[in-house]
């Protein structure tokens, strides 16, 4: 776990990629998850494909 965190810290773009992947997913679904739906910021809309 510590190694993973160290790797993420050394390469911030990996974290960026992770965040971006979730934003693309959230932008392209009506409900991002089966549970609670937090208020989606408008900025995430720019990642939509449809």
């Amino acid at each position: 776990m510590k190694k993973l965190w160290k790797k993420i810290k050394e390469n911030p773009s990996m974290m960026n990629l992770f965040v971006m992947a979730f934003m693309v997913y959230a932008a392209n679904t009506r409900c991002a998850w089966i549970g609670h739906q937090p208020k989606m910021p408008d900025e995430i809309r720019k990642f939509k494909r449809g």
């Binding site: 911030p12 934003m23 009506r30 409900c31 998850w33 549970g35 609670h36 739906q37 449809g50």
Partner: protein
Amino acid sequence: MEKMAGVLADRFYDEYKFPAVSYDAFKYVIEFVLEMAAGIFASAMIAVIFDMKWETAVFLMIFWILRSYAGGIHLDAFWQCFLFSAAVMAGTIALVKYLEMPVWGSHMMFLGGVLAFLLTEPENDKNRHVDQEEDAYFRKKLCESFLGIAAVYLFCIFTNNSRYTFLIAATVDVVYVLMILGKIKNGKIK
């Protein structure tokens, strides 16, 4: 969960420097990931308790895919939604484990559920505004998802797996009922 996401976002946003993402969007992703992790953890617990690991995985996948494009009820607080989702999941898994449904019953449930979905408007949440363009895209994806689910359902029929045919049919129906509950909550059905 929102507070926890705020604490984590405060800590990591500056530390990792996200040039392409605003703080609000970053916090949204953190909150979303935490809620998803909690949901997957609850699913794993249900799978272990009922000793239905593969069944729970199939339920979760179908539930997730259909909810992604059809929408449905969302309760206002995270813990309410979390407990409700866990109860729905546990209830469906228990039903599939303890009830012997004849295959024709599963067929009726599956066809009825798919037909009902196709005849009903999807339901959006107030926290996720959907424009016309997005709505058309989600409807198209929902139809494609049903094709995929129908293929899996047919495979289960040909392999005489009555438990999975019932599971898939029950999941489709559960998601439909949740969509109707969303309409009732949002005041579209009284």
